[in-house]
């Protein structure tokens, strides 16, 4: 770090002129031979003492600095980061640093701090293509992911290593009770995401997106980390088992066919109203025009 150099220079600069004056007083007491020996010894001593003093000052400064500045110490310990973290850092410094800062501390008006968000948040944001953001707007839209799965793993490792936070769940994410999942979905999720996750509008251009394209892990990590305008559903609010129930419900209902025919978006009266006018009434008007022309 360039900042340590002027600080370590300063004490050694102050100590240097004091040393020779003290030794010169002792030299004045002895015989010429002794004085010559003493001068030689003192020359060596002076050199050793100078080096030792400098070293002591440096160590003291370094210790003080590391005691007062923990960030520096963290950075020092990073020399042992794994290859995945290193690759993640490289990706981070290329694609994320502009808005999230060089130490994941965030940049005011651009992006939030990533310290403590954990790999779960990285997975959701990057895997759904929300990050990297194209531009600042009401809400980052999902789009095809920019990074490959391997690169996402590296980014996750880097962010997880620097601040920790929620981690990815393991095992079968659909291992939960279907009915309970439905009940919990309607209680916690439907107010924004619609009855079966078709998505809904929030204020000022924000929205709760459709869960149509979401995979199990994305739904789970979204609940865990609360991206964008979504609240965090921590493990003390929805237990991991309850989260798995919700994932199971969303994915099961999504995959099931519509028994009534064409589903018209599964959004209820708005789509049905469009159908009755555009299809039903239009077909009947055509019918009576045709009957009228047969008069």
């Amino acid at each position: 770090m360039s900042t340590t150099n002027p600080q370590s220079d300063a004490p050694s600069g102050e100590g240097a002129p004091r040393g020779p004056r003290r030794w010169s007083r002792r030299v004045a007491d002895g015989s010429p031979a002794a004085a010559a020996r003493a001068r030689r010894r003192s020359k060596q001593r002076r050199r050793v003492a100078n080096v030792a003093g400098l070293m002591a000052a440096l160590v003291l400064t370094g210790t003080l600095y590391s005691a007062l500045s923990p960030a520096y110490a963290t950075d020092e310990s990073n020399t042992s980061e794994s290859s995945a973290e290193a690759a993640g850092r490289e990706l981070y410094e290329r694609s994320c640093i502009t808005c999230h800062g060089e130490n994941l501390e965030g940049v005011p008006t651009r992006g939030p701090s990533l310290i403590g968000v954990g790999e779960a948040a990285v997975y959701f944001q990057v895997h759904t293509g929300r990050m990297p953001l194209v531009r600042q707007e009401a809400q980052g839209p999902d789009k095809p992911a920019v990074f490959s799965d391997e690169e996402i793993d590296q980014l996750m490792a880097y962010v997880q290593a620097n601040g920790g936070g929620p981690t990815l769940p393991s095992g079968d994410l659909r291992e939960g009770d279907l009915t309970e999942g439905g009940e919990l979905f309607r209680l916690n999720c439907a107010s924004c995401h619609n009855f079966v996750g078709e998505g809904g509008a929030l204020s000022s251009g924000k929205r709760a997106p459709s869960l149509e394209d979401a995979n199990d892990l994305e739904i789970y990590t979204a609940m865990l980390t609360g991206p964008e305008n979504m609240p965090v559903f921590g493990d003390n609010q929805l237990t991991p088992e309850e989260k798995r129930s919700i994932v199971n419900y969303v994915q099961t209902v999504k995959e099931q066919a519509d028994p009534g025919g064409f589903g018209v978006g599964r959004i209820g009266p708005v789509a049905e109203g469009v159908v009755i006018w555009v299809v039903g009434v239009a077909a009947l008007l055509f019918g009576i025009f045709w009957m009228g022309s047969k008069a």
Binding site: A138, D177, L178, T179, G181, G182, E183, R186, L187, A190, S191, C192, H193, N194, F195, V196, E198, G199, G200, A201, L202, S203, S204, G205, R207, A208, Y249, T252, V253, Q256, D258, P259, G260, G261, F262, G263, V264, R266, I267, G268, P269, V270, A271, E272, G273, V275, I276, W277, V279, G280, V281, A283, L284, G287, I288, F289, M291, G292, S293, A295
Partner: protein, 554 residues
């Protein structure tokens, strides 16, 4: 028919003899003959009301089937049926039986969907029928009574629709019922009492589904049926209106007899209506209650809307500012009262009283049996368009969150667009419609005065180009037509007065030779070219029959 062997009029066939036996006892031949011979005028727009009638018949039939299986009870049960994602969930018996109809009753889901689509169509066709009546002035004296009955039927169909989609007790309908409960509570002074009477206590109680059921399957259908009968009886008594045209006056009815022509058409239309409802019911999913889930007052979903016909009131609620009126004495009139009680109250009162209002304003108290073309009554037509615009802005605002989400628009922008549009668009619609009506009127007059544009450009000897016009009747010395406007459509294109060749036959590909048809038509002197060929030209080079289109110069 070997009728000659017996006295004239005495039936000889088996059927005839049987009919005679019936007539001997009931004496119906006279009235029946009069009825069967009744003449109905013929126009496609007169069939709109019939669509409503036939969809009501579909509703009665499919609804009866649904009552065999529906359990209108709010008893708490645990679902153990076919639909896996709800197995083990607590729900009301009403919702459980709706799931049972949907998944376990043979044809149950089809019947549910048929019933719901027919309901949407019922209200839609009533609205279109009402618009036809309004824009053609068919509500004028002596038909104000039928107008009032029609408005009553519209309001009752809303009540039918609301009770119908609220009964399954799913999360969507429960949310709607909660809103209605809030609307009732918002009525000053009587609100709480009415709410207690309707729900038999606080929301939601254990009574409301059973009450809605009896209203939905007995009370309102009985009233609707009675009103439809009255509507039709008055129609038969007063005779149907007709558009002005050749031979049509205020004192006759030109059209087809009830039997066989009109009955054939009506029967055909019934099957078309049934077919459209059945196709929608079988192919397009409607109100999938299993996705909505059982009702729980703690839950509410995004995009909870009523069916389309009530959606305008949801829209008015979304647009109206949150202006609670705080009165002294800890008394409050909630903002909800104005857009959901006062607004529809004003709208339906204006609608019901419109014939009387127009009579007052125009001082036209005469009886009318001939209809008006919308362009000939620009003020009424513009008022109607203004009302439609107002309604459509509210309707769109009722679904503004879905539109915002699907089209990536800010919901706040949708709300403000609705608020501003509700104030600005109706007057604009009035002005535009008025100008369009006047323009169409002028064009009618112009065609009557100057004739049809033939598209034939003729160059006069001195170099001037004129377009030859085809007068519709005799002309004066300036070439101006002498026909007066009679309220009937004026032909605007030459082929409407026989100026074109007939179309080449064949639906997918021509089945005759176009050149052959051309020759044949030329021989019969059909079409413009044939008429042009032997037209006499005056000395000035102008056609003698008034080809000069514009201002008379000579």
């Amino acid at each position: 028919m070997a009728r000659t062997a017996t006295a004239p009029g005495v039936p000889t066939t088996r059927l005839g003899k049987a009919a005679l036996e019936v007539d001997d006892r009931l004496i119906v031949a006279g009235p029946l003959r009069r009825t069967l011979n009744k003449v109905f005028p013929d126009h496609w727009s007169f069939l709109l009301g019939e669509i409503a009638l036939y969809s009501f018949i579909v509703l009665l039939l499919s609804g009866t089937y649904l009552t065999f299986f529906f359990d209108a009870s709010m008893r708490e049960v645990v679902y153990e049926g076919t639909y896996a994602p709800l197995r083990g969930a607590e729900m009301s018996a009403a919702y459980e039986s709706t799931l049972y109809i949907s998944f376990d009753v043979r044809g149950g889901l089809f019947m549910r969907q048929l019933h719901h689509w027919a309901a949407l169509l019922f209200v839609a066709s009533i609205v279109i029928h009402l618009l036809r009546i309004f824009f053609t002035g068919a509500f004028r004296r002596p038909r104000e009574t039928n107008w009032l009955i029609g408005v009553a039927l519209l309001v009752l169909s809303f009540a039918m629709g609301f009770t119908g989609y609220s009964m399954p007790d799913d999360l969507l309908s429960g949310t709607g019922l909660r809103i209605v409960s809030a609307i009732i509570l918002a009525i000053p002074v009587v609100g709480t009492w009415v709410h207690w009477a309707v729900f038999n206590g606080d929301y939601v109680g254990e009574f409301i589904v059973g009450r809605m059921y009896i209203v939905h399957v007995l009370i309102v259908p009985a009233i609707i049926l009675a009103l439809i009968a009255l509507h039709l009886l008055i129609l038969v008594k007063q005779k149907h209106t007709q558009f002005p045209g050749p031979g049509r006056t205020e004192h006759n009815v030109v059209g087809n007899r009830l039997f066989p022509a009109f009955a054939g058409k009506a029967g055909g239309l019934f099957f078309i209506v049934f077919g459209v409802c059945a196709a929608l019911g079988g192919l397009v999913q409607i109100n999938p209650v299993w996705l909505w889930g059982p009702y729980n007052p703690a839950q509410v979903s995004a995009a909870s809307q009523p069916d389309w016909y009530v959606m305008f009131l949801d829209g008015s609620t979304r647009l109206f500012p949150a202006w609670d009126l705080n009165l002294p004495g800890n008394y409050q009139i909630p903002a909800l009262f104005w857009p959901t009680v006062v607004l529809p109250g004003i709208l339906f009162t204006l609608l019901a009283l419109y014939p009387m209002i127009e009579r007052k304003l125009t001082r036209d108290t005469a009886s009318h049996h001939l209809l008006q073309r919308p362009r000939d009554v620009p003020v009424r037509t513009s008022l109607g368009m203004m009302a439609i615009t107002f309604y459509v802005v509210l309707l769109i605002s009722g679904g503004n969150d879905v539109i915002a989400e699907k089209f990536d628009i800010s919901l706040n922008a949708m709300t403000w667009a609705g608020r501003i549009g509700l104030v600005i668009l109706p007057p604009l619609a009035y002005v535009f419609t008025y100008r369009i009506c006047l323009g169409l009127q002028k064009h009618d007059r112009e065609v009557l005065e100057h004739g049809l544009e033939t598209g034939v450009i003729r160059r006069l000897p001195h170099g001037e180009f004129i377009e030859v016009h085809q007068p519709l009747g005799p002309v004066d010395e300036h070439g101006h037509g002498q026909l007066a406007y009679g309220g009937a459509p004026v032909p605007k294109r030459m082929n409407q007065v026989g100026g074109a060749r007939r179309a080449i036959r064949g639906f997918f590909k021509p089945i005759e030779e176009p050149a052959q048809v051309e020759l044949e038509q030329r021989q019969d002197e059909h079409g413009l070219a044939a008429a042009e060929a032997d037209r006499e030209l005056t000395t000035s080079g102008r056609p003698s029959d008034g080809g000069r289109p514009q201002e008379p110069r000579d």
